[in-house]
């Protein structure tokens, strides 16, 4: 590794004291201040931080893509020893094509939808290298092979929309590597991808780095991804780099209080449930327009000293290669961190409750939700064609005991959201039966009794659309109270304030409009609104997936606490196995509209596994470089739900496929005891013999 290399080399990229400001209506906003780092050949340097911390701005600053209102106001950017700041647009443009390549989050925006993949790829070589068409074509095929694209000749003839998300990202990466760039900037390249696809792309990036000896600047908010791909990492907070060291140091021996806090609020995939407690960081990120005068982390730090409020600490080297922006890093490192005292018993109580078997409150029997899809043929245009169905939810049965939480996990498009919408009655049921509190609720919400409607509420995914932008917080929480007459008319305001307090907001939020709230606050109001009706069952559709980790931890803990207070039953949908683990009593894994495996949470994370669960567990990026994870990668992409594979739905991608039986026969369910059921043709004894996927050192 380059870090221990004693030969003197110029780094590929050296950023010194970089400062970038954006002009806004309210004056200049310093988005990035004092950022320094260097990246050597063949090294991957991660930059990690929560949204709005300036990590993307740094990347755009390097190639001067700051837009009309952004400007580099200080510092220098040395690329292979040459200053980039102040270069003309033309020089930078040539450099960006030849030497620096970028890969962004959304591959669809990087590819031109109206050009064939082949034309887009070879254009790079024809324009920048002056190759002939034929030479360029051969090289492109070569490159697609190197990024493990199946059938490169066919892909060259396709348009971007004909490829899956993972394939598109491979094309973008291939395009970036065509000119053999010295520096590759990747800005959240896998954030939009599913975990199993993400795992394959991350493997690819790692391999290419070794093979091409490229320097990589890798930007992400996901600590697990950083731990997997990079050698060194910088942690950014509110526009400053607060810590920079090797990945092992950052994760195993973090010295800055912010990094330490961050590590504690990421769900980890350890084997014991206690290891998945989350300890959120209090407060919220200051806006770059109004930074605290001293240390920027001072208002949220657990180790504040009087000095912290006055002097702004510099980034200093506390150990060889380990830089920290904290005046008391050594002292803080010396003392063991203890979770706040009131938190431990609380969490222990929350997680260890309800051992006694309760009555099932929700019961689903062979539930099917199909969407009709018109075929694009002449006969269906006149209404004579055969109807096609998207089988979003296909034959799902389960029950949830009162007061328990069922977590449903699956990749995008597996039907987990449709399942929730079917239960609450927003999607009509095609077949099967839903029973709730002993009542049949297989009808749409508009045909249900108000009493039943009240008992079934939902918490939504997107904080920006969960609240009506036109009404105040108080009005929106008060509406269900008035509608369901939960409290007498005169007491609505008092009850709203009580609910606000239950979600850790105070009275001053009553008259605020949604645009005055942060994402986490909106999500809290959404929770308060759902619980205002005092429902028996709450369905959470990925309530934390669009929040930052520190906010996510707080919201998850809050949900647990409220659930316990009201003894609510929950169905919790997520795509991340590590979030569900901490949260649920039971977990179900869903693939293409069907459950693969369902059982008590502990049982899901240990053998016997369903082969799909095994692959999912293996793909989840774990924010711990010392964790051992068995490597199982799925080939191909999720088949369309319009024509799902016959037999076992997973047979097209299953690494443990037995043979024809998987393609022809529906898998039987195998009872592994304690309510743990696996839908697979492989005998249970063999599944039991599988090794645990994740081993975390204590």
């Amino acid at each position: 590794m380059t870090i221990n290399d004693h030969r003197i080399k110029t780094p590929i990229l050296e950023v010194r004291d970089l400062a970038i400001s954006y002009k806004t209506r309210k004056g200049d906003v310093p988005a990035v201040r004092d950022v320094s780092f260097e990246i050597h050949r063949g090294e991957a340097h991660g930059i990690v931080g929560e949204s709005g911390c300036g990590k993307s701005t740094v990347a755009f600053g390097v190639v001067n893509f700051l837009g009309r209102n952004g400007r580099i106001v200080g510092g220098s950017i040395l690329f292979q020893g040459q200053e980039l700041r102040g270069r003309s647009e033309e020089e930078l443009r040539r450099l960006r094509g030849d030497q620096i390549a970028m890969v962004y989050q959304d591959p669809m925006q990087a590819l031109n939808p109206s050009l064939r993949i082949g034309d887009q790829l070879s254009e790079v070589l024809i324009v920048h290298r002056g190759l002939s068409k034929e030479e360029a074509y051969d090289k492109c095929i070569d490159m697609l092979n190197r990024v493990y694209m199946p059938d490169p000749e066919v892909v060259m003839e396709r348009y971007p929309h004909q490829l899956s998300g993972g394939q598109q990202q491979r094309v973008v990466i291939a395009m970036a590597l065509l000119n053999n760039p010295a520096l590759l900037i990747m800005d959240e390249p896998t954030t939009a991808l599913d975990v199993t696809v993400e795992a394959a792309v991350l493997d690819l990036i790692d391999e290419l780095r070794r093979e091409f000896d490229t320097a990589i600047m890798y930007i992400t908010h996901n600590l697990g991804v950083i731990a997997r791909v990079s050698d060194r990492a910088g942690v950014m907070y509110a526009g400053e780099m607060v810590e920079r060291a090797t990945v092992e140091e950052v994760f195993l021996n973090p010295l800055h209080p912010y990094t330490q806090g961050l590590m504690r609020c990421v769900p980890k995939l350890g084997l014991s449930k206690e290891s998945s407690y989350l300890y959120p960081i209090r407060g919220r990120v200051p806006s770059p327009a109004e930074l605290p005068p001293g240390c920027i982390f001072e208002p949220r730090c657990d180790h504040v000293r009087p000095q912290c409020g006055q002097t702004h600490p510099e980034l200093r080297e506390v150990a060889p290669g380990h830089f920290v922006r904290c005046s008391f890093a050594e002292e803080i490192a010396a003392q063991e961190w203890q979770p706040p005292e009131d938190l431990i018993p609380d969490l222990a109580a929350l997680v260890a409750r309800k051992a006694e078997a309760a009555e099932p409150i929700l019961h689903l029997q062979n539930v099917r939700t199909y969407y009709e899809q018109e075929r694009k043929s002449l006969t269906s245009l006149v209404g004579l064609g055969k109807k096609q169905y998207v089988k979003a939810v296909d034959d799902v049965s389960f029950e949830i005991p009162k007061g328990c939480t069922l977590g449903v996990v699956g990749e995008s498009g597996c039907g987990k959201s449709t399942l929730a919408k079917t239960i609450v009655g927003l999607e009509p049921l095609t077949d099967g039966k839903v029973e709730f509190l002993g009542f049949d609720i297989s009808v749409p919400v508009s045909d249900r009794d108000l009493e039943l409607i009240k008992e079934l509420q939902m918490i939504f995914q997107n904080p920006d659309s969960t609240m009506n932008p036109s009404f105040t917080v108080g009005h929106q929480i008060g509406r269900p109270l008035r509608r369901f007459k939960t409290v007498p008319r005169g007491q609505v305001r008092g009850e709203v304030i009580r609910l606000l307090e239950a979600v850790k907001l105070d009275e001053s939020y009553y008259d605020r409009l949604p645009r005055q709230l942060s994402g986490g606050e909106k999500q809290r109001v959404g929770i308060a609104r759902a619980f205002a009706a005092r429902p028996d069952l709450v369905l959470c559709d990925e309530p934390v997936s669009s929040l930052d980790v520190s906010v996510q931890a707080a919201v998850l803990n809050l949900l647990l606490e409220i659930q316990q207070r009201y003894d609510t039953t929950m169905l919790f949908i997520a795509h991340d196995l590590s979030v569900v683990r901490f949260f649920s009593d039971y977990v179900a894994v869903m693939y293409l509209g069907k459950f693969c495996e369902i059982g008590p949470a502990e049982a899901i994370y240990a053998p016997p596994y369903h082969p799909y669960t095994e692959a999912l567990l293996s793909a989840v990026p774990i924010p711990d470089p010392s964790a051992k994870q068995k490597r199982i990668r799925l080939s191909g992409s999720v088949p369309s739900a319009l024509n799902p594979p016959s037999g076992c739905r997973f047979n097209t991608r299953c690494p443990r496929k037995l043979g024809d039986i998987c393609e022809t026969e529906e898998p039987p369910y195998r009872d592994a005891g304690g309510g743990h059921r696996i839908f697979c043709h492989i005998p249970l004894e063999e599944l039991r013999k599988l090794e645990p996927i994740v081993t975390v050192k204590p």
Partner: protein, 294 residues
Amino acid sequence: MAVSEQVVPRVSARPSFWQRLRDAMSPILASKVALVGLALVIFWILAAIFAPVVTPYSPLEQDADAMNLGPSAGHPLGTDHLGRDLWARLAYGSRLILVLAPLSVLCSLAVGTTLGLLAGYFGGLIDEVVMRILDALMAFPAILLYLIIIAAVGASSTNVVIAITIAGAPGVARLVRSLTMDIRTREYIAAAQLRGENPFYIMWVEILPNARGPIIVDAMLRIGYAVFSIGTLGFLGLGLPPPAPDWGSMVCAGRRYIWANPWAVLWPSLAISSLVVGLNLFADGLSEETMRYQ
């Protein structure tokens, strides 16, 4: 639990009236285009309100000694073929047009919004039926539609409003329908459905307020078109019956003496175009500013 995101500096609870007014005005003040447009519109609004103050003449007062005169100290814009003061007629005429144009747009908004909400929210068969009928209406050229309606029911100010309402409603309905179809997929609508809310409550209370931005901008443009349409109808003799100081009929009347007195045609034409341009500039600037910070 003890730790959580904490309250940030308190924003004063309910913003005062002046603050809210300033917030509402800020996009207008930020755009020069909108300001120019607003100035033109305000000029005509003031002229309409203070018509008796800004001119000593009545719009109907004829003066046989002063026919077809150019601008002079006595008659700032000149007189028409019956010796009526042009400025007085324009000022009083703006009273008519500034009532009729917004009124007709308001009517088409009411009809169009209702149809658009129904079609967009329920979809399916209702959507098909409503939109096909409106498509059929839109297939007629607007001017032909006016002629048919006015010819059928006769020329009066009420009928002008009805004609413009019928011609304008399909456009409004299309806009509202597309906005509704977008907004109804938002999660707060699902939350309202999960409270068992009445569909009409969801349409008018949950959806409509969030569609107001584009609807307001569209309405501004529509008032411009309505001014134009009323002018056209007046010019064709289908507007307000004489001797009402209708700008369109002023152009029509002055047209016969255009070689003797071009002023009688020029001033009302300028009045119509300045009001239309003003409204369009205002709408353009407004939409640009509201889009920019979304």
